[in-house]
Every structure is written in C-alpha cells, then in structure tokens.
C-alpha cells in the first residue's frame, strides 16, 4: 500500500505576533517550502486548518487564508480541527493523485475574544448557552467527577501544569513561559472550581505547517521522513449530560489507531506522546484512555514520573496546550512536535530516549466530544 510521510515541519512562536494574519501565515509557509527546496507551484495541493468567525472574525476564513498559504491556482480545502486537516491531506496522497500536500493550520488568538466567551458558542442557544455552559464549565464538571470517582487528588492534577510549563521553558516556540511550582498552581484562583487558573490553557497565536509526501517523493525530499502508521477518530454525543464524561470516545479512537499501527502494548511501544490537554487533569484522563496506565491510575502515573521529559514515556515535551494554545491549530502542533521528536530535530526539548514511534492526539468540543489519535513512525 502507498505510504504517507511527513518530510518537513515549520512553526511560528505561540507568542503574540504584531504581524497581520496574512503575513503571519505567509512567513511559516514560505519557511517550509524553502526548507523542502520546493517552489509554490510544485506543491500538489493544500489543506488548511483554521476557524471561522469566533476564532478569526472572518466568515469562510479560508478564502482569506489561501494567499498566505500559497494555494493560488491549486486545489485547496479546509477543516476547523487541524488534526482532520492532517488526515485529509494524507488521504490526498493515498488517492495517488498528489505526490506532495501542504497542511497548514493558523490562528491569531491574540486578536479575538477570550476562550470562554468563544466556547460558550459551542453550546446551542436553547439549552446550554442560556445556563452558562462553556468548555471550561464542562471541563470543571468532568474534573470533579474524575477526582470523586477515582480518588485522584487536586495536587496530582496540578502536577501536569508544573510538568508542562517546565517543559515549555525548553521550547523556543512556546507561548506561556513561566516556571511554576505545585504551590503556585494550587494557589492560583479557582476560576471554575475545582479548576485553577494555571490549570487552564492560555490563548495563543500560531501557524504550523507540515509537508506530506508519497513514499517515493519523500525519499528524494528528506533524509529522514516520518511515516504515518496509524490513525483513529471518534465522536461522542453533543449534550454533555448524555455522556459519562469519564468514559468518552478516546479509547475507541486510540484502538483504531493502534490496530492500524500494529500496537498492542501502547505503554511500551510508544516512545513519546504529544497530548492535547487544554485543562491539566485532562492529560491524566487522556493518558488512561490511551492505555498508558489503568483506569483511575492517572494520578499514580504522574507520581511515578513516567510522563516526565526523562521518564519512560514522556508526555508533552513541548509543553503541550497548557503552554501554547493556538486553538484550531493545536492538533497539528501536536503532530508536528511528534514528527520533530522522531526526526531528532526538537532541539532543547528533544527527549533523552531514542524515539521510533510517537503519538499525537487532538481533541475539541465539550469535555472531549471528539478525539483524534495519530501514530507516527521512523
């Protein structure tokens, strides 16, 4: 079967940029084409990841985005969840029609309203929006259930923020750079009790681009292509009240990806993971669902040191979403970071161990309504 490779990666800093969105988009896409030695006209097609009105103040935002991505005179399409943009790009290669596909996700979080007013609009205007449901509200209710059902402690959840913000100090592209102690996180305001301010992701800028190529083309473009070896996705009910918030669809998405990649012991076979954790405790819950530890064992898992940068299975060496949250682009950032770890190009946040297999995860919707899992291999 045809294989798909990531040959190159380029990303902007997550920090506030003074550039216009169009110029900000252009810089990173110019960089990736220069790295690959490709002219704009040589790229097969384009898949973008960007969000409309709420995250950009634009309708049909991709219409504005195309010039900066270099899509003029090409086939282009877009998804709002950038992990979907990635898999749609892979499918273009698998169709046999294109040898290269440029996948780019972008947002300038610094230009639009805060996350909470925006995610309030995920709710319908009949039942959820009028009673103040937003992404943080559902996450906080999910966290309370996580603490109460399994006896995971607030300190164990806070440790995720300490770990990820600590890792971010070694990532030149990270947005929130601040060394925090467990006491700092625990003492930060209980904004959505039991969630604390330092356990909630910031709002970041970010453009990230990934160049995909067919097997044959990848070998001429890169000395070290990274291969897509597994993918899975699954969706849950819309109403948070229709679900058990602790038994979502991530295990289903992960199993689909693992089956495709031939993984039966994820805790041993995966070398590093980039997990989408807009709220600290979610990293622990997601790691359970990914099979890195048992049900309700997320607290012990972080206590054991396994997910630390020098642990047996480092999680979010980049600092994750708690450090950098370019909202619709955050999934593709996870994929790009996982690829960089395999390529040994992650720089100061390159993990100590040899990385042959990396996992990237993305989520969106209330309490993880949708999950995507991508497995990449050397």
């Amino acid at each position: 079967m045809q294989r798909v490779a990531i040959t190159h990666v380029a990303q902007s800093s997550g920090m506030e940029s003074k550039e216009s969105l169009m110029d900000f988009t252009y810089r990173v896409n110019k960089e990736i084409l220069d790295k690959a030695g490709l002219k704009r006209r040589e790229v097969g097609c384009i898949v973008a990841g960007s969000a409309d009105i709420f995250h950009s103040g634009l309708s049909c935002a991709n219409a504005f985005d195309w010039d900066g991505i270099g899509a003029f005179l090409k086939e282009g399409s877009r998804a709002e969840e950038s992990a979907f943009s990635f898999i749609y790009g892979c499918m273009r290669i698998l169709s046999g029609r294109y040898e290269t596909v440029l996948v780019t996700a972008l947002v300038k979080g610094s230009e639009n309203p805060d996350n909470d007013p925006i995610t309030s609009f995920y709710g319908d205007p009949f039942y959820l929006r009028p009673v103040g449901v937003n992404e943080s509200v559902v996450a906080a209710m999910q966290m309370r259930q996580y603490l109460e059902r399994y006896g995971v402690t607030e300190e164990q959840c806070a440790k995720v923020a300490v770990k990820n913000l600590g890792n971010a100090l070694f990532n030149p592209y990270a947005d929130r750079k601040r060394r925090v102690s467990l006491e700092d996180v625990m003492a930060s305001e209980r904004v959505y009790d039991p969630l604390k301010a330092l356990e909630c992701a910031p709002k970041s800028d970010g453009v990230v681009a990934v160049l995909l190529a067919s097997e044959e083309r990848a070998k001429t473009l890169s000395k070290k292509p990274v291969w897509l070896s597994g993918y899975g996705c699954s969706m849950d009910h819309f109403h948070p009240g229709d679900r058990d918030l602790l038994k979502g669809q991530l295990p289903a998405a992960a199993q689909r990806a693992y089956k495709m990649a031939g993984i039966d012991d994820p805790g041993k076979q995966i070398d590093v993971a980039e997990v989408c954790e807009p709220y600290a405790f979610q990293e622990l819950l997601w790691c359970e669902h990914l099979g890195f530890c048992g049900e309700g064992q997320g607290g012990r898992w972080i206590d054991s040191g396994m997910p630390l940068m020098d642990g047996a299975l480092p999680v979010n060496p980049s600092g994750g979403v708690l450090a950098t949250n370019p909202y619709p682009a955050r999934g593709l950032y996870r994929i790009a970071e996982a690829a960089l770890q395999i390529k040994e190009e992650a720089g100061e946040h390159q993990v100590g161990k040899k990385v042959r297999t990396a996992l990237a995860h993305s989520t969106h919707g209330f309490g993880g309504q949708c999950h995507s899992v991508v497995i990449l291999s050397a």
Binding site: S120, F126, V133, V137, E148, V191, Y192, P194, P240, D242
Partner: protein
Amino acid sequence: MAKEYRTMRNDVTLPYQWALGKTWSRFFDGLKDGRIQGTKCAGCGRVYVPARSFCPVCFTDTTQWVDVKPEGKILTWTLVREKYLGQVQEPPYVVALIQLDGSDCGFSHFIGGFDLSDAGQLKRKLKTGAKVKAVWSPVRNADIRDITCFVPVE
C-alpha cells in the same frame, strides 16, 4: 484591548433565528406551565430531558412523552468565579449536571438559593449526589430560564 502596535477594532453583531421544531416547542410550552417533560425511546428505554424527537443512540423516533419530577440529584457541578464577556450572569454562580428523577441523562442548569460566599453553606449544601428541586421563575417566556435554578433540599 489597546496594544502597543497598530490594530483595528471590529465588533460584529448578527441576528440568528433558530427554529425550535415540534418537540422542543412542546418542551418549552411545558416549562411555561410548570412541567418538565422528557421523551422515552421505545428501543433502549432511555428517558431524555430535555425532550428529543429521536434517540441519538438507537437512531429511531422517540414515541412516548413522560413527565419527570422537577427534582433530582446533582451529578457534578462547578462554582464559576471567572468573569468574561457576554456572561449569562455575574459570578459567582454554580452550573451543574442534574439527573431529574425519572430521567436517564444529565440536565444542565444552575444551582442556587443560598449564599455562595459562605464557605460553610457551600460545603454543606453543594455535594455530588445532593437532592435538588426546581425553582420556577415568576415570569415565564417558554424557555430554559423559566426555571430560575435548582435549590438543595435538606
């Protein structure tokens, strides 16, 4: 909002008119009359509140309307202290998932009726599993805020 580099502010206001459809209209008309109604799936037996036209699991039409009690238990909750643009009310306030007696899902609404700044009351009244009952709004418009909030029952 002001930045040290040049920006241009742009505010957008757009009206939307969402259709309710038959089932949600009947649900909201029920609220106006002080009734909370669900629909039952003949396939799996689940009772959904608010009422649905179809069971999202079995993917078949729901056929039976049922009245559920305006009381139930707290499944989970959060105390909101954060202030943000366009917020539904001044914080602090509590949002919860409530399982109404006779239903099989969580219903999103406010918990209130006591002083949220009183730590002792908070600890005593706001517990997962605690029993709560609906407080009806004196003015009703056939929408979800016809219920003001749910209050803990001692």
